[in-house]
C-alpha cells in the first residue's frame, strides 16, 4: 500500500464505528501497540511537552526509509500516535515531507491537532515531518 492507500484503509476501519465511544475504544487498543521508546532512552530532547499529555518521539532512517518510535503518558494520545506511525513507517523521507496527511481529519480526530497543544500531537506531526525533511 502506498501513503494514500494506507490512510484510506484507516478511514475505512473507522467508518465501521457507530459512535464516538467505539472509536475511542479502538484508539485505546491501538495505543497498546505503539513502538515504545525504552524508559532509559526518554531523554529531554525527545520530549514534546503538551499542555496536558507528554509525547516522546525518535526517528531512524533505514535503507532510505523512515521509522518512528514514540510514547506518551496518555493512552489516547498513544493510540493516535500509533496511527501516525502505521502510515509513516517505511515511507521515504520525501513522501512524508511532501504528501498530504489527510486521515486524521477524515476520521474526526482533528481536534487532537489543535494549536492549543493540549496533547503535543500537532508538534509531534511537525517533528515527524521535519525529521523526514532532514533526511531528503
Amino acid at each position: 500500500m502506498n501513503y494514500s492507500e494506507k490512510q484510506n484503509s484507516i478511514i475505512e476501519d473507522f467508518s465501521m464505528f457507530e459512535d464516538w465511544m467505539e472509536k475511542y475504544e479502538f484508539i485505546i487498543e491501538l495505543g497498546k501497540e505503539v513502538n515504545l521508546i525504552p524508559e532509559q532512552d526518554k531523554s529531554d530532547d525527545l520530549l514534546i511537552e503538551g499542555c496536558q499529555s507528554r509525547v516522546w518521539l525518535k526517528s531512524e532512517v533505514n535503507n532510505g526509509q523512515m521509522y518512528y518510535f514514540a510514547d506518551s503518558d496518555a493512552i489516547i494520545t498513544k493510540g493516535i500516535i500509533s496511527l501516525l506511525i502505521k502510515v509513516m513507517n517505511g515511507e521515504t523521507p520525501s513522501t512524508i515531507a511532501k504528501e498530504n496527511l489527510f486521515f486524521i481529519e477524515k476520521i474526526g480526530l482533528q481536534e487532537h491537532l489543535s494549536p492549543t497543544r493540549a496533547n503535543g500531537l500537532l508538534e509531534m506531526v511537525k517533528r515527524m515531518k521535519m525529521d523526514a525533511i532532514k533526511n531528503i
Binding site: 459512535d19 464516538w20 465511544m21 475511542y24 475504544e25 485505546i28 499542555c51 496536558q52 499529555s53 507528554r54 503518558d73 496518555a74 493512552i75 489516547i76 494520545t77 493540549a118 496533547n119
Partner: protein, 411 residues
C-alpha cells in the same frame, strides 16, 4: 439531599434561563461541569448585549449626542449596580478591567512601582498563574521578594506559617479567596486582619468566590478585590478591580491614553479622578453594561438556598466518587466550595476527560493554571468538576455512569 418538588422547580426555573444548557454535544445532552473555568450566561445578559449593539451603540464619556449620553449613563449605572452589590464605599472604587488577570497586573504594575528592594509580597502555594507571574515579573524588575505561604496536604493554607512570615517588610499579601483547583475556601477575614496588623495591604483574588459567595467589601476590609465577569454569568473581556479610594488615589496610572486624563499638554499632563484614572481608552462598554445585568441576575437569586444547593451537590458527588475504586480527591479542606479535583489510579486525566467529552460532559482536565500546586501534590494534573446554580443531582448521577464507563474502557 433535598429533593422536594418545590426545590426541583426552583432549580428548573433557573436552568430555563440559560439557553446553552439545552443543547446536545456529540449527540448527548450537554452536562456542563466546568463552571470554575467560566459560567454560562442567562438570557437577560445575552439580550442586553444584543440590544446594546442594535439600539444603543455609541462611545461614552465624550459625546453630547443622545446615544453617547445614554451609553454613558448605562455604563456608569452598571458600575453603581456592582458597587452597591459588593457594598463598596463608593462606585468610583469599582474600576472596570479586562478580568482578574488584568486587575492583578494593574496592581503589580502600579502599586508595585511604589515598592522598593527588600519589600516582601506574600502569595499562597495554591495561587492561579495569574496571581504568581505578575509578582515574579515585579521581583525581577524591582528587587522585591516574593514569598510563598505553604499549604497543608488537605489544601488549607498553613496559617501558622503565614503568621510567622508576616513582618514589617511585608507590603502586600495577595491570596485567592477560593482555590480554582481544590475548592478550598480560605480564611480571608483572618488573613486580612493579620496583614493589616503589620501594615501590609491585601489583594483578594475573587475569581472563584464571586459566583458562590455574597461578597461584602466593607465587612471584609480588603484593600483590593479582583474578579472576572465571565465567571459570574457575565461576558468575557470585562472584570472588576475594587480598591480602597485612599490607596488608588496614591497609585500612579497604569496605562496612558484617552479618558484617564484631566488635561494634556506637552509640558505637563494631569490625570482624571477615580475610576477614570485607571481606565485609559475606549473601554469594553457593552461588557460593562452586560456585567451590570449579570449582577441583576445574581440579585434575583436566593443566595442561601443556592448555597445549600451547591453544598448538597458537592457532598453528594464527593460521597459517590469516594465509592469508586482508586479515586483520589485532591483538596479536602473543611471549608470547600462546589469544586472537586480528582484522579483515578494511574489513569491519565486527559484520557478520562476525552472520554467524558465524547459522552457529552464538559469537565476540565490538566493543571488548571496551577502548576506549582500540581508539583506540590506530585501529579501531572487532575480531572475537575465544578458545579453552579443550574446543575442538578440527576446530572451527577449521569456523570458517575459516564465516568465508570470511561474507567472501564481505560483499565
Amino acid at each position: 439531599m433535598k429533593d422536594t418538588a418545590e426545590y426541583k422547580a426552583s432549580i428548573e426555573n433557573i436552568r430555563a434561563q440559560f439557553p446553552i444548557l439545552s443543547q446536545k454535544v456529540n449527540g448527548r445532552d450537554l452536562v456542563y461541569f466546568d463552571n470554575a473555568a467560566t459560567s454560562q450566561k442567562p438570557y437577560t445578559v445575552i439580550e442586553r448585549i444584543d440590544n446594546y449593539y442594535k439600539n444603543e451603540n455609541a462611545n461614552i464619556h465624550r459625546g453630547v449626542h443622545y446615544l453617547s449620553q445614554k451609553a454613558t449613563e448605562d455604563y456608569e449605572s452598571a458600575r453603581n449596580i456592582i458597587g452597591t452589590y459588593l457594598n463598596a464605599a463608593d462606585a468610583s472604587e469599582i474600576i472596570f478591567t479586562k478580568g482578574t488577570t488584568d486587575g492583578i497586573n494593574l496592581i503589580a504594575s502600579s502599586y508595585g512601582s511604589m515598592l522598593n528592594e527588600g519589600d516582601e509580597i506574600l502569595i499562597s502555594a495554591m495561587e492561579h498563574h495569574s496571581n504568581i507571574v505578575p509578582w515574579q515579573l515585579l521581583e525581577s524588575q524591582r528587587g522585591i521578594k516574593l514569598r510563598i505561604i505553604p499549604i497543608h496536604e488537605n489544601g488549607e493554607i498553613d496559617m501558622d506559617a503565614y503568621n510567622e512570615m508576616l513582618n514589617s517588610k511585608t507590603k502586600l499579601v495577595s491570596v485567592t479567596h477560593i482555590s480554582n483547583t481544590l475548592g478550598s475556601i480560605n480564611p480571608i477575614g483572618e488573613i486580612i486582619d493579620k496583614a493589616h496588623a503589620v501594615g501590609a495591604k491585601v489583594l483578594i483574588d475573587g475569581a472563584q468566590s464571586i459566583q458562590h459567595d455574597q461578597i461584602d467589601l466593607k465587612a471584609l476590609n480588603c484593600d483590593f478585590f479582583v474578579f472576572s465577569g465571565h465567571k459570574v454569568f457575565g461576558p468575557t473581556g470585562i472584570g472588576v478591580l475594587y480598591g480602597k479610594s485612599e490607596i488608588l488615589n496614591l497609585m500612579p496610572p497604569y496605562q496612558g491614553g484617552g479618558d484617564m486624563i484631566e488635561k494634556v499638554s506637552f509640558e505637563k499632563t494631569t490625570f482624571n479622578v477615580l475610576p477614570f484614572k485607571f481606565e485609559a481608552g475606549t473601554p469594553n462598554i457593552v461588557g460593562g453594561i452586560a456585567l451590570g445585568e449579570a449582577f441583576n441576575f445574581l440579585k434575583s437569586l436566593n443566595f442561601n438556598e443556592l448555597h445549600e444547593h451547591e453544598m448538597n451537590l458537592l457532598k453528594y458527588a464527593e460521597e459517590e466518587l469516594n465509592k469508586i475504586d482508586n479515586i483520589r480527591i485532591i483538596g479536602t479542606a473543611k471549608n470547600k466550595t462546589s469544586v472537586i479535583s480528582f484522579n483515578v489510579g494511574e489513569l491519565h486525566p486527559f484520557d478520562i476527560g476525552t472520554l467524558l467529552d465524547k459522552q457529552g460532559f464538559a469537565v476540565r482536565t490538566g493543571h488548571h493554571c496551577t502548576q506549582p500546586l500540581m508539583d506540590f501534590y506530585k501529579i501531572p494534573g487532575t480531572i475537575r468538576v465544578s458545579f453552579s446554580v443550574y446543575n442538578t443531582k440527576q446530572e451527577i448521577d449521569l456523570f458517575l455512569i459516564a465516568l465508570k464507563k470511561a474507567i472501564d474502557i481505560l483499565s
